[in-house]
Subunit: 345 residues, 2 copies
C-alpha cells in the first residue's frame, strides 16, 4: 500500500480547519458569517443577529485537574465562551454544556464543576439551555456552545480594521501565563515531596488570572455607553501576537505594536522576571488572558481616552508595511504567532 499519510502537525490547528472546510459553501439566507471569526453570525431579523461560538476543553490538553479545581474549571469553561460572544461586540444570553466523563469521577466532583458553571452563568447573565452528558474512556471533556445577540450593524468582525485605526487592549496581559508558571512550579515541588504545601503567597492575582479568567462583558457595555463601535475585535485567548496577526490577516492590513504601551500588571512583571521571562513576551505569546483586542477609528479616541480599562497599544498600517512589534529601543521586529498550538506539543 502506498496510501498517502500526512501528519496532523504538518498543518497546525488553524491550517487544518482551513484545509478541511475549504470546500464547504453556505446556502441558508440566514447565514451571514460561517467559519473564521470568534463566532458565527446568523441573521434573525432585519436588525438583529444571533452569535454562536463553541469550544472544547479537554483534560490534559486545556486543563490539568492537579491544580485546576473543578469549580474553577466550570467557571472558566463558561467565561471563555462568553468571551467569544463579547469579541463580536455581542451580548451573551444562552449556553449549552456537554460533558464526557469517565467513571473515575464521583457525582460529587461533577456537582463542584456545575457549581462553577452556575456561578459563571449568574455572573454573566447567561442561561444554561442544554447539553449532552455521556461516558468517556479518558478523563473529562467539556464542549461548550455560547449563544448571543447583537445589532447586526454593530457586530465587530476580525476583518474590519482600517489603516490609521488605533489598536486597543482591555485590562492587562501576560498574567494568566505567568500564573501558570507559578502553578507548574508548585506542582513539581508537590510531586517531589507531597508534604510540602503549595506556596502561592503573593501570587493570588496572577494565579487567579489563570484559574478564573473573566469574560469582559463590562467592556462591551462601556463601548455601548460610550457609543463606540470597534472596527474590528477578537479576544486574547492565544497571546497578543497571534490575535493581532489574526486581525491583520482578516482585515488585510499591517500594524505597529509598541512594547512600552502593552498593559502589564506589576505583579505579572515581577513574577515573570523571577522566572527569567520577559514580561512583554509573556503578553505576546502567553495566552489565556481573555482580554479583548480591538481597533477603533481615530475619531472615536476622545470617547475612550482616559478609560482605565482600555489601553492604546499601537495602530493599523497598510498591509505592505507589515506587522511589527516595536521594542523599548525603537527596533521593529516582525510579529510572529507563537501561541498555543496543541498539535505541536
Amino acid at each position: 500500500m502506498d496510501e498517502k499519510r500526512t501528519e496532523l502537525d504538518r498543518l497546525g490547528e488553524f491550517g487544518l480547519i482551513d484545509h478541511l472546510t475549504s470546500k464547504f459553501t453556505t446556502k441558508q439566507a440566514s447565514t451571514t458569517l460561517g467559519i473564521g471569526d470568534d463566532a458565527a453570525v446568523i441573521r434573525i431579523s432585519d436588525t438583529e443577529s444571533m452569535l454562536v461560538s463553541t469550544d472544547f476543553l479537554i483534560e490534559g490538553v486545556h486543563f490539568n485537574l492537579m491544580y485546576m479545581p473543578l469549580k474553577h474549571l466550570g467557571f472558566k469553561a463558561v467565561a471563555v465562551n462568553v468571551s467569544d460572544i463579547c469579541a463580536m461586540n455581542g451580548k451573551p444570553e444562552q449556553i449549552t454544556v456537554s460533558m464526557a466523563v469517565s467513571s473515575k469521577f464521583p457525582v460529587e466532583a461533577l456537582e463542584e464543576l456545575y457549581e462553577g458553571i452556575q456561578i459563571a452563568c449568574e455572573a454573566y447573565g447567561v442561561d444554561l439551555v442544554g447539553g449532552d452528558t455521556t461516558a468517556s474512556y479518558s478523563g473529562l471533556t467539556l464542549s461548550i456552545t455560547a449563544i448571543g445577540r447583537a445589532e447586526t450593524e454593530k457586530i465587530a468582525y476580525r476583518s474590519g480594521a482600517k489603516e490609521n485605526d488605533l489598536l486597543i487592549a482591555s485590562g492587562d496581559l501576560g498574567g494568566a501565563y505567568v500564573g501558570l508558571q507559578v502553578l507548574e512550579r508548585e506542582k513539581q515541588v508537590f510531586q517531589a515531596n507531597p508534604n510540602i504545601q503549595p506556596d502561592l503567597d503573593g501570587h493570588d492575582y496572577i494565579v487567579q488570572r489563570q484559574l478564573k479568567p473573566e469574560a469582559r462583558v463590562d467592556i462591551i457595555e462601556y463601548l455601548k455607553e460610550l457609543d463606540v463601535v470597534p472596527t474590528s475585535m477578537i479576544d486574547i485567548s492565544d497571546g497578543l501576537a497571534s490575535e493581532v496577526l489574526h486581525i491583520c490577516k482578516a482585515s488585510k492590513v499591517g500594524c505597529r505594536l509598541y512594547d512600552e504601551k502593552i498593559p502589564i500588571d506589576g505583579k505579572t512583571s515581577m513574577t515573570a522576571i523571577e522566572f527569567n521571562l520577559d514580561p512583554a513576551t509573556c503578553a505576546l505569546n502567553g495566552g489565556e488572558d481573555y482580554e479583548l483586542l480591538f481597533t477603533i477609528s481615530q475619531s472615536d479616541w476622545d470617547k475612550i481616552k482616559g478609560n482605565p480599562h482600555m489601553t492604546p497599544i499601537g495602530h493599523i498600517t497598510d498591509a505592505a508595511d507589515g506587522a511589527y512589534f516595536v521594542d523599548k529601543n525603537g527596533s521593529a521586529i516582525e510579529l510572529r504567532a507563537q501561541g498555543w498550538d496543541h498539535f505541536e506539543q
Copy 2:
C-alpha cells in the same frame, strides 16, 4: 477522610443531568425552554424561535471505527443532530462541528470525515458555520451543535400529548440495532481470521440503517404540507420504549402501544430471528433508528391516513392507566426503558 463518593452509574445519564442542573434557573427573556427536550427554544421574534441541540459522538462509546468508515461517521454525526431539530418540528439551518483528535489520525482520515459531513450538510440543506479543532490523547471525539428555526406556535414539545391522541412512528424500526448485530458478528469473524472478508450480503438495508441513518426532514415537510402540527414529538435515538416513556412522563399521560402495529421492515425481522432476537424487542429497545415518534389529535387522522411514511402504533391514555405494550396475544405489559445508557456498561 469520610468524603462521600457517589458513583456515576447510581444516577444514570438522565438522572445525572437532572441532578446537576436542578438548581439552574433561566433569566433571559428570550429563553423559552432550557434543558429537557430534543432542543432548546430561544425566541427570536414575535412569531419565530431558534432551536439549538448538541450531541457528543465519542470513539469507543458511540462509534467503533473498526466497522464505521469515517465518511459514514461524518454523515451520521450531522444526521443525528439534524434529527433533534426535526423532533421539535423545526427546520435545520446551521451546524457547528468540533473535533478532538489524536495524532494517530492522518489528515487524509479527517478529509474523509469532513467529506461525510459535507454530503450530509448538502443533503439536509444546513450550513457548517463553526467549530473547534484540538488535539486529544485518546481517539476521536466529535461535538456537534445543530441550529434550526420554527414558527413558535408550531413547535412540538415532548410535553404536549393529550389523552386519546394517536401515537405515530415514521419509517420502520429496529433496523439499526439488527444492523449493528451483523457488523459485530463480522467483526468477530475478522478478529478470529483477518483473511475472511466480511459477509454483509443481503444485509445492505439494515447495515445502512446503522451506518448511515437519515434524519427525517421529509416528515417535517409532509406534516407542514398536510397542515398537521403534532401535539408532541421526539426522535427515536434510544429505542421506542424509552422515547414513548419520555413523552408520557413529560406530558403526564399514559399510553397503549400495540406490538402488531410497530412498523418493522421484512429484512429487519428475518435477520433478528436469525440472531434469536424478537423483532419487536429490537424496535422497543434497540435504538439509533432516528425515526420520529409523535402524537396527533384524532381530528388530524384523516390528513395522514394512508401515508406510507407514518404508521399509527397506539394511543395516549390518562396517566392513571399507565404506559403499556400490548403484545400479539393481547396481553398488556408495562413499558420499561431499556435503551442505551452509557453509564451502565
